[in-house]
Subunit: 108 residues, 2 copies
C-alpha cells in the first residue's frame, strides 16, 4: 500500500470529514434500530433485529478506520455511498484526491 | 439423570405449561426490546441492545428445553422465577411434582 504524507491542514480536513460521516451513520443506525424495534410483532423479529445490529456494528467497525494509510480507501467508499461529496474533499492535495476518486469508482 | 415415565395426560399438561411460559417470556422480551430501543440516545445504547438481545436469546434457548428427561428441572427453574405456579402443576404425578419442587428450591 502506498503511503502519502498528510499536512496538518489535510489532517484537520480529513478528521472533520471522517467524524461527520461517522456521526451521521451512527444517527441513521439509531433511527433504523428504533424503527425496527417499534415494528416488532413476532418473536422472529427479535432475532432479525439482533442480526441487523451485529452486522451493522461489524460493517461500521470495518468501515471507519482512521489510519492514514487506508484513509483514501475509506473516503473512496464513503464517496461511492454518497455519504461524503467531492466538494468536502477540497483542500486535500491532488495525490490524495485522485486516489480517493479512483477508490470511489472501484467501490461502486 | 433419572428418567420418569410420562402419561398422555401429563404430557398434555406439561406441553401447555411449557408453551404458555415460553410465549409469556417472548412477549416480555419483545416489550423490553421495544422499550430499550425507544430509549436509545447515544451510539453505545445500540451495542447494549445488541448484547441484551444476544444474551436473552442464548438464555432463552438454554432454558426452554422440552426433553422429558430435563423437563422437571426446566419447570423447577420456571417455578423459582415465578413464571409458573404450583397450582398449574396439578395433574402431574407425585414423582414429578416432588422433583420439580426440589429443583425449584435448588434454583432459588
Amino acid at each position: 500500500m502506498r503511503s502519502l504524507g498528510w499536512t496538518q491542514s489535510e489532517k484537520a480536513i480529513a478528521r472533520r470529514i471522517f467524524d461527520d460521516a461517522r456521526q451521521a451513520e451512527l444517527g441513521e443506525m439509531m433511527a433504523e434500530t428504533r424503527r425496527r424495534a417499534a415494528a416488532i410483532r413476532v418473536p422472529a423479529d427479535l432475532w432479525y433485529l439482533e442480526t441487523y445490529l451485529r452486522e451493522s456494528r461489524q460493517q461500521f467497525d470495518r468501515k471507519y478506520d482512521y489510519r492514514y494509510s487506508v484513509l483514501p480507501a475509506v473516503f473512496g467508499l464513503l464517496l461511492s455511498e454518497g455519504r461524503i461529496s467531492e466538494a468536502e474533499l477540497q483542500g486535500l492535495r491532488e495525490d490524495k484526491l485522485s486516489w480517493i476518486l479512483r477508490e470511489g469508482r472501484a467501490a461502486r
